[in-house]
């Protein structure tokens, strides 16, 4: 029932320093803290990036190591901000990009749903693939866009899910929209009302 093998599913790679950049913006969520801190070390070691060139935004959650916030706050960067939730981080991220200059590289680490939201803002600023590096880590839960009522259902880990908006049961497809930062959800029992497969955890 799951439609897989669709090309729009984003591909991510382990974060690595891009020494061609002059400024480095690091953004992470949850367990992504570890990746960001490793990257700060790598940037320092590369010699091509000063403390002043590095900025970091981090949103914590329960998946993060208990001391993640404290370690992030101590990171060797010019500016670090830690948030309790993703919307607050995104707002700050947007403000940061408004004043950022050409020569900036963006690094994102966190669950895919988080990365999608960050990327969507990065796209508005015309940051291209050769300026962004992203590493997926933590929950594989998906943000699902209902193609019927357009509501977003957050943190979906199951093959099918009840839409937060219209209460239809949706099958979660691999078709990803960068504009919506979400996977498409399509009504599961369109042909046979009431008939739907068992709910299984698949995106964990």
């Amino acid at each position: 029932m799951l439609i897989t093998g669709i090309k729009s599913k984003p591909v991510y790679a382990p974060l690595a320093a891009d020494v061609g950049g002059r400024y480095h913006v690091l953004v992470g969520h949850g367990v992504g803290a570890e990746q960001l801190l490793r990257l700060v070390d790598e940037l320092r070691a590369s010699g091509g990036s000063s403390r002043a060139s590095r900025r970091m935004l981090y949103a914590t959650d329960l998946s993060a190591a208990p001391n993640a916030m404290a370690t992030v706050r101590e990171a060797d960067v010019a500016h670090v901000r830690v948030f309790e939730n993703i919307p607050a981080l995104l707002e700050d991220f947007r403000t940061l990009l408004e004043t950022s200059r050409m020569g900036t590289r963006l690094y994102v680490a966190g669950p895919e749903a988080f990365m999608g939201l960050v990327m969507r803002i990065a796209n508005e600023f015309n940051l291209n693939r050769d300026e962004i590096r992203a590493e997926e880590c933590g929950s594989r839960a998906r943000r699902v866009h209902c193609i019927h009522c357009r509501a977003a259902t957050e943190s979906v880990t199951t093959n099918i899910v009840e839409c937060s908006g219209c209460r239809r049961w949706l099958v979660v497809r691999d078709h990803y929209s960068r504009r919506l930062a979400a996977y498409m959800g399509v009504m599961v029992d369109a042909e046979m009302p009431g008939e739907r497969p068992a709910v299984k955890d698949v995106f964990v």
């Binding site: 061609g20 400024y23 990009l97 050409m102 020569g103 600023f125 015309n126 050769d130």
Partner: protein
């Protein structure tokens, strides 16, 4: 692909713009309109001289919404293989020429949040049409135009009238040069830089952007290198079974065409990749003058761009 169906045009106006540059207007000989194009496009003009055929690329500088004629700017080259001299000395109002359909290898980025255009001398031509597109939009843009001296600033009045304060003209004669570091060192995210002009200027702009941390997707340049002259050499075209002599002042592509063999091309300036040809055998060295092949490909000696590259060899066999 492009040379199979050329368009017959008639020169409908000629105007000297600077001591070295003339503007030509080309109208369809059959009447009506020419194909639509976007700013940054070029055409190849086919000039049939008494002894040889020249095919030179020229950027279209007329506004993209005016299709009853195309305008090109031709700079008279001091060291010329003949094309620009032919245009300056032999082409008159009413002369007929063939042109190819426009091709755009120098597109404006549609998602850019700001455009910085840098032109040197005759390199202004692609920007003339592009700026008409930009003028109609809402994305900020600016042109930095460097010329030898006041008498060399072709289009000055037109530019100032159409684009006002977005234009800055620099005169070498007044020691006024573009501060590329200053310009590229502090631009907002989503800025794109475009450069067209002499090789030194392109290198300077691309190099400076790289040092300032700009990624490749934001740096655009166009340079049609005229095919350099070199030693004469012989080439054997394996598929056609003909042997061709390439004289010093003719390009490999021109010599192939003169021998009646059809070879692909789009830009004739070593940038588009269309003419890429497999080298089957070479006894000597290939002289690569293109901006298309990677350095590994150039070293491998297995491919050549006949529009600008040559060989110093005793034997060369191409897959044509």
């Amino acid at each position: 692909m492009s040379h199979a169906n050329t368009i017959l045009v008639r020169v409908s106006a000629i105007e000297p713009l600077t001591p070295l540059i003339k503007r030509f207007a080309l109208s369809p000989a059959a009447g009506g309109f020419l194909p639509a194009f976007s700013g940054g496009s070029h055409i190849i003009v086919v000039m049939r001289g008494a002894t040889r055929v020249h095919r030179n690329p020229y950027s279209l500088l007329s506004p993209p919404n005016l299709l009853d004629s195309y305008q090109i700017g031709v700079r008279r080259m001091e060291v010329s293989r003949g094309g620009s001299m032919f245009m300056h000395d032999h082409v008159r109002i009413g002369s007929e020429l063939e042109i190819t359909h426009p091709v755009n290898l120098f597109n404006l980025d549609k998602l850019a949040r700001k455009h910085i255009l840098i032109a040197g001398g005759i390199g202004i031509t692609p920007f003339m049409a592009q700026m008409e597109d930009l003028r109609a939009g809402s994305v900020p843009y600016e042109l930095h135009y460097s010329v030898r001296g006041p008498e060399h600033s072709a289009f000055r009045d037109r530019l100032l009238e159409r684009h006002g304060a977005r234009i800055r003209i620099y005169h070498d004669s007044a020691n006024d040069f573009i501060d590329v570091e200053g310009l590229l060192g502090n631009q907002p995210l989503g800025t794109h830089v475009y450069v067209c002009g002499p090789a030194g200027m392109i290198e300077k702009v691309v190099g400076t952007a790289r040092i300032a941390g700009w990624s490749g997707s934001h740096i655009h340049w166009e340079q049609f290198s005229a095919p350099p002259v070199g030693d004469a050499f012989d080439v054997f075209l394996a598929k056609s079974g003909v042997s061709v002599r390439v004289p010093p002042d003719q390009s490999l592509l021109e010599a192939i065409e003169a021998a009646g063999v059809d070879a692909p091309y789009l830009c004739r300036g070593g940038v588009c990749g269309e003419c890429r040809t497999k080298v089957l055998e070479v006894d000597g060295v290939l002289v690569h003058n293109d901006h298309f092949l990677s350095s590994e490909e150039k070293e491998s000696g297995r491919a050549i761009m006949p529009c600008v590259s040559r060989a110093q060899c005793t034997k060369l066999v191409l897959d044509l």
